[in-house]
Amino acid sequence: MKPRVSNLIGRQTPCPQVLLNKVIEHDIRNTVGNVPMEWYQDYPHIGYNLDGKKIFKPIRNKDELDEFLDKMENPDYWRTVHDKTTASDIRLTDEQVDLVHRLQKGQFGDVNFNEYEPSVDFFTNEVMIHPVTNRPQDKRSFIPSLIEKEKVSKLVHAIKMGWIKPRKPKETTPQYYDLWAKEDPNAILGRHKMHVPAPKMRLPGHEESYNPPPEYLLTEEERLVWEQQDAEDRKLPFLPQKHSCLRAVPAFSRFIHERFERCLDLYLCPRQRKMRVNVNPEDLIPKLPKPKDLQPFPTTMSLVYRGHTSLVRSISASPTGQWLVSGSDDFTVRFWEVNTGRCMKTLEVGGAVKSVAWNPNPAVCLVAVESTVLLLNPSLGDRLVVSSTDQLITSYEPPEEDKEQAVTWALSEGPEHNKGHRLTLTHPKAVKQVVWHGKGDYLSSVMPDNSSNLQVLIHQVSKRRTQNPFRKSKGLVQCVSFHPLRPYFFVATQRYVRIYNLIKQELTKKLMTNCKWISSMAIHPGGDNLICGSYDCRLAWFDLDLSTKPYKMLRHHKKALRGVAFHRNYPLFASGADDGSVIVCHGMVYNDLLQNPLIVPVKVLKGHQITHDLGVLDVTFHPTQPWVFSSGADATIRLFT
């Protein structure tokens, strides 16, 4: 027991004799016992001495300043202890200090106590003449016990009867025998049919050798990369090493780890049968007829028409195939001779030209500029044609009653007439596209605007009349087209192509293009097929007899398609895209209804430079020859023959 120092002094109990004598001289012992001194806080005394008299508190308590002064001035401060029970300071004597030191060191309190005294055994192992006790032994230690005898005889009887058998020696080593002596391969449980055997461990490659060829060792950088990678990302689970001899090969530190991981794989990994596609990639490529056998089609760039200074938005070839018209953002319309590449005529039109279209019948050309549509007479070639064209326009007789029309028709006169302008149709909004009907009398213009129903207008040139065929807007109209043979009208909005019957004035079909945003549309001269180009790099071929969904979807361009076109006579169609290429495809449509169209890409034509992320803007075919024109953002028009 190690009593606390303050208690020891307060009670003064275990003190040696010398100490006690000194204390007795002024013995003011508190008799309240071991109670909290806080109980006497409100009283003037703090307990009772041996005589039962009150022990009074000192009049003035020491405050901190006193304490401090005491600490500074009293040389015995270090050996002064405050006794709570008597509220007095006691100065420890030298003996007491010694005692404290000894106890702190863990020594005995008594100085004179010898802890290493020799031990004297009371009982010895030697037989003595005189025993320690001399009690005689009991009788029962001489005669056999009856109870024990009974028990033993019972056991003997049980053993005799064979009830108790000796313990079998434990089999420590397992016994093996021919487990598969009667193996029956048909006795496989149903579960085993589903069972997926664990895959075997991967066999080691050259890099795991203790002395691999030098190319399998990692270079310094590769090693650094390997060390920084996570254990899962590493291609090799270990670092290849080279040892000069077998003697130098150390133990593999992760051996137990790897075996443990294999164990975990065996019982924790879900197993699945994965079918490995083992196909020859060549077999995946569809077998198509050779492009060589599908000639003619344009193969080389033969002419470049230069002259425009800004991107050429639209081109159109004359029905004879002798002339080409192009409209550009440099506010001009140019007429070119196809065979020579000469620019025959340049017309300033005072606005970016969005679309041009050559009338399929006579030599009237049509130009859409900003918010006007101009009918031009190019006055090229045969004089008879030119004059007949002019006659056609002048032969108009205004009707009696003037109807309110959506656009204003104005006849050009003076210098403008000399330049070639014939009629000006002023539209309320910007015109994006103009198309002629196959007969050459009707033309349609598109003013894309989502909010109003005035998006598509159909004009009749001979009567100078304008119609708005739609009462309701069905979305932003991208382009329109006339059916080449029958009175159908195609309207492409952002995602759908709607086909209207113009005579019955009703919707006949709605084609789902699966595209995000249609950019252009072209109709096969037979009228039963249609292609749609879209800004999301797709070209959809519709067979109108087959379905409203695309018959074929081509993703052959890398960037947004801008223009598509069909050839009038040959089974060809072309598409131009922002990647600067024109892809010509063979698109054969059979008269036999059972045979589906054959589509084969035959040529990728490149030549246009990509400027401002724009490549080819429009493509059109020569009306008679297998030639294709393309206009691009690099201000050129190119002819591929």
């Binding site: 080593t173 397992p174 093996y176 025998y177 487990l179 598969w180 029956d184 006795a187 496989i188 449980l189 085993h192 069972h195 055997p197 664990a198 461990m201 066999l203 080691p204 490659g205 050259h206 795991e208 050798s209 203790y210 002395n211 060829p213 030098p214 190319e215 270990f238 290849p240 040892h243 001899c245 077998l246 003697r247 150390p250 133990a251 593999f252 051996f255 137990i256 780890h257 075996r259 294999r262 164990c263 975990l264 065996l266 019982y267 924790l268 990994c269 879900p270 197993r271 699945q272 990639p281 995946l284 490529i285 569809p286 050779k290 492009p291 060589k292 081509l554 892809i583 084969v600 035959v602």
Partner: protein
Amino acid sequence: MGGLQKKKYERGSATNYITRNKARKKLQLSLADFRRLCILKGIYPHEPKHKKKVNKGSTAPRTFYLLKDIRFLLHEPIVRKFREYKVFVRKLRKAYGKAEWTGVERLRDNKPGYKLDHIIKERYPTFIDALRDIDDALSMCFLFSTFARTGKCHVQTITLCRRLTVEWMNYVVTSRSLRKVFLSIKGIYYQAEVLGQLITWLVPYQFAHDHPTDVDYRVMATFTEMYTTLFGFINFRLYQTLNLVYPPKLDSKAESELKAEHEEDYAMDSESYLEKLSALSASLARVVATAEEEENQLDHFPTEGEDLENMQAREKEQKEQEAQKRLFEGLKFFLNREVPRESLAFILRCFGAEVSWDKSLCIGGTYEVTDETITHQIVDRPDMDKQYINRYYIQPQWVFDSVNAKMRLPVEDYFLGTTLPPHLSPFVEEKDGDYVPPEKLKLMALQRGENPVQEEEEDDDDEEEEEEDEEEEEEEELTEEKNLKKMEDKRAQGKTLAVKVTPGKVKPWETGSAGNKVRLEQEEKAEEKRLAIMMMKKKEKYLYDKIMFGKKRTTREVNKLTAKRKAHEDASKAQKKQKKAKKQ
């Protein structure tokens, strides 16, 4: 309106699966016991196709087992044993607590145990099934047999593993079924062909293990428990097929030979017997004493023409195999003390050689170093003091490379102190397009019977020629430099240079030569292919792209390896040159 209301997750895939916790509750087992049961019975989790459906709408990560599997576990008699064991542990603890020592002893004696025989039979209904799955068992037993007999696992397990692996090695030696060996940085891989099954196992190098702390040895011990049972039965059956006595006994002749030596040096008979067995130097006793096994020849069945070729190929293969089995026959090896004795003795004995070692190294050495008939001594030290003239001193890699090459390789490359040629993995089978290290090409040429020595000489010639070329080039460069200097001088003097126009060469493809045609045709083909790829369906295109990506990656890797090799060779060549120059 009638019918019961359909409830979600009460039909379909949700009812086919059960989570691990539910399975555990159904079987009334603790997680550790459940794990043990799964290991023993070979039950593994399944990944449902629609995890969310099976998980009743939740996406929490859970392990799923097939409900059928768990139902199957319900009938397992071992589950009852597990429960009994739990009770036993409880009783034992109680007895300990009460200090009832007789009780403790009694309980100890009646400790419930279980056997795994029926599980093995159930998991592997036929012997071949079992043999097919023995790879892991072998590797595990070989690992456990190298453990120190302190802590980590029971000593009985270790001795049992050791016994079984020794039995296995003895079987492989007797049946001569070892095919391939490979020294990797992890350990030594062996591949044997037993009853038509290729069995591969990995043996760690003989070092004390640095036991990792993040490995659960209980799991490993459970696996080992299962594997030792399986392995024992397989050994029994294999010994039976060869008419050998099981447990293996040494041939009486060999035994008497061994006995003559220092028997009393070894402590106990039972222990020394295993040691003698593991020495692998003596043949085993047979049930029916037969002279030598007759060669089992392939029967000839007259069949149609195409089968004939197959037959011939098979016959040829058989012959090769026979030749490989007798690879080291007639040779006498002596192992120095620094080489791994067990693995080398095992391999050499598998191919019919006689092996011995110093008698202080291990029991079972049959002859001394001084024996004059020794043909090869395997040494793994830089130099030897006393060398006998009539034997080769070779490094251990020769044995391994020869086994893999199926022929005795020339010993010159493996002499003492020489730099060893790279050790290649025999498990790599190169398809076309894969990288083949030049050493392998050389080896293949050697196997075909071509002599590589001449080639090397040619190489040397080439090198010399190359050197000459280089020198010429240097000279050319020098002359060019001179010309340039002259020109500059002229310029400095202010003279006008004589401008000369040399006629340009016409490139071959611009003229209409034969090469041009071929080129054009190739280009056409390539374009056709490109155009056809445009017409592919989305799904096929994706697959095609994936395949092509994989192909490209392999070619990239091959290119990288070739470049590395070339760089290495260039560097070594330069070093050689430097050395030469220094000598001169």
